[in-house]
């Protein structure tokens, strides 16, 4: 056989193998409203940048008649490529090959590309579309999952790990995405659960559809397992490419710096926040008024909306924003918002992204359901995350900062580097109504006209304590600033913090209230 012939054979083999499960299976994949694994990789990566490995991998299953079966690529595609010109590693499960089921070789391919990602310190993107463990391979399939989980954990905080759920991801398989940093889901395509509707029906007699049990909306709005929601796959990959342009690609490297742009949102920042502390507004307008081009990448936009977290750039550099959102649940801290914020803060700290916090909250959410859901343990996470973080921490108190909420939201006392307050700030142990009712209980009760007295005492309390100056007098607030000065103050403070070197107490690791 001459060289030319051998090259022809290679190309023929490539062509056949790259068809995955074959034309029929591809047709079926399309009919179920999904793209193929190869189309997905093309959408993710820069055009023509993909290099595939282990195309000719074959499974070694011997039982249940598997030895005669050829599974192209063993149901997963792995390789390297670039996104916005930067190198990344990717794997994509191919549902057309044996339902994307995970056997030993399938898992070995995934762990191979994970090792490359960690060794080369480049991001890993995993596209999940699999029926689960390949039952015929038994315990080997379980071993495969375990080895993936181990590597997810080793890579955590070193390289960004992104999971894209584009099909079923059920049983043990869900735990790899759960261990990664960002989970992307697509409406009507993504399905994630530990036990599916069938089992739930048999055992518990409860009937529920896959969509209602673990669809994209459920995980974006209720469980918080997903971080980004997209209407379709095309939009999903655009979002991933955008996120990758904002975050550092490993824990020793800064995010790509962009040209500085002025905020695009033309609102009068001095007028965004209503004076009455019980009136809502959208805190994202404040964020967009201070960041470059008003370009904000919100993480977990649909989950626990009472806190807003995400990335923006200030003077071309990426900053992580955490802001109470008075528009939802008055911006309170509760079980979900504490979890959401704490995780985001830890991510920023791991990847050296400075944290800017905008404060406007009445405190923790009262209620039996919150107490029983463990608001003590969950609420503690945000305190832990802020206290532990050594990245630059800059806090701006916009309006209310009451009680435990004030302490938790990156206060001076948790070692914030710079704390600013707007003139509308009210830093106090609680709101004027509640405080006056307690402090002046006797005067109010004994007054001839208790309502009149109550009003008078609330006004008195407001006058004396509902302002930023009591805290400023003690140095808890470094400076009271006009809202319109905020962007410049942030630019300046971030510059001052650029070489921050906080010495940590030596330890193996802490015990956060997981």
């Amino acid at each position: 056989m001459g060289n030319i012939k051998k090259i022809e054979t290679l190309n023929q083999k490539r062509k056949e193998t790259m068809l995955g499960g074959g034309e029929k299976a591809i047709q079926k994949q399309k009919e179920s409203g999904k793209l193929t694994a190869r189309e997905r990789i093309d959408l993710l990566l820069d055009k023509g940048s993909f290099n595939e490995y282990d195309l000719f991998a074959q499974h070694e299953g011997r039982d249940f008649g598997m030895s005669d079966k050829v599974l192209n690529g063993d149901g997963v595609i792995i390789g390297t490529g670039t996104v916005n010109g930067s190198p990344v590693c990717v794997f994509a499960q191919d549902f057309t090959v044996s339902g994307g089921s995970l056997g030993l070789m399938h898992a070995k391919k995934i762990t191979k590309i994970m090792d490359v990602a960690l060794n080369m310190r480049i991001p890993l993107i995993g596209i999940n579309d699999s029926g689960g463990a390949r039952i015929q391979e038994g315990v080997s399939a379980l071993a495969g999952y375990g080895e993936i989980f181990y590597r997810n954990t080793q890579a955590s905080g070193v390289i960004p790990q992104i999971s894209v759920i584009l099909g079923p991801c059920a049983g043990g398989a869900v735990y790899s995405p759960a261990l990664t940093d960002y989970v992307f889901v697509v409406d009507k395509v993504s399905k994630m659960f530990i036990t599916g509707p069938e089992v739930i029906k048999t055992v518990l007699g409860e009937e529920i559809s896959m969509e209602d049990l673990g669809g994209a909306r459920v995980h974006s709005e209720i469980t918080g397992n997903a971080h980004f929601f997209a209407e379709n796959e095309d939009d999903c990959f655009k979002q991933i490419r955008k996120l990758l342009s904002f975050i550092p690609h490993n824990n020793k490297k800064a995010a790509e710096e962009k040209e500085t742009k002025m905020p695009a949102l033309k609102l009068d920042i001095n007028k965004i926040v209503p004076e009455d502390p019980t009136k809502p507004y959208d805190v994202r307008d404040v964020i967009k008024s201070v960041i470059d081009d008003s370009d904000f990448v919100e993480v977990q936009e649909k989950f626990a909306q009472n806190i807003v977290v995400g990335y923006g750039r200030i003077n071309g550099k990426t900053v992580g924003f955490i802001a109470n959102q008075p528009l939802y649940l008055a911006g309170v801290l509760d079980v979900d918002s504490s979890d959401k914020a704490a995780r985001f803060i830890r991510y920023c700290d791991a990847f050296n992204i400075p944290v800017v916090t905008f404060v406007d909250l009445p405190g923790y959410l009262p209620g039996v359901d919150q107490e029983h859901a463990g608001v003590i343990r969950h609420g503690a996470k945000i305190l832990y995350a802020y206290s532990e973080a050594t990245v630059p921490k800059i806090t701006v108190i916009l309006r209310k900062a009451y009680g435990g909420g004030y302490i938790a939201m990156s206060s001076r006392h948790l070692n914030a580097d710079f704390v600013y307050a707007w003139p509308t700030a009210e830093i106090a142990v609680m709101g004027p109504q509640g405080a006056a009712n307690i402090i002046f209980r006797k005067e109010i009760m004994e007054a001839e006209n208790p309502e009149e007295m109550r009003k008078q005492k609330v006004e008195e309390y407001k006058e004396r304590f509902a302002n930023p100056y009591v805290a400023a007098a003690r140095g808890y607030v470094d400076s009271v600033i006009e809202p319109s000065e905020t962007r410049n103050m942030l630019i300046h403070s971030l510059k001052i913090c650029e070489n921050k070197a906080e010495v940590k107490t030596e330890k193996k690791h802490g015990i956060p209230p997981f």
């Binding site: 055992v203 709005e221 918080g224 019980t278 649940l329 008055a330 509640g434």
Partner: protein
């Protein structure tokens, strides 16, 4: 956003007008337990009932058996009383927290 969907949250005597979130709405609101009600501690299928309405029972008596996850779970009376009503029968598939019977 639909302005009509705004709710009011009361914290420290102040009332905040605000929107709700899906996960907040989904949380089960706490109800004061009534010790006369016998509730299912797990979901499953009723395979046996040992009492009928009007029976006098003592704390610790077996009320019924629920099969769940291939295990038979006995539901016992927690206090003395007279069975006022039984809401389930043999073979019923029940959900967690469902009321099974009430004592007088």
């Amino acid at each position: 956003m639909d302005e009509n969907k705004k709710i009011i949250i009361k914290i420290d005597d102040s009332e905040y007008t605000t929107f709700s979130t899906p996960s907040y709405e989904k949380k089960e609101k706490w109800k004061k337990p009534d010790s006369r009600n016998i509730l299912a501690i797990i979901p499953g299928t009723v395979v046996d009932i040992f009492v009928k309405e009007g029976d006098k029972v003592k704390a610790g008596d077996n009320m019924l058996v629920i099969e769940a996850m291939k295990m038979n779970n006995q539901i016992l009376f927690e206090k003395d009383g007279i069975v006022d009503k039984i809401f389930v029968s043999k073979g019923d598939v029940i959900s967690k927290g469902q009321i099974l019977s009430v004592l007088k």
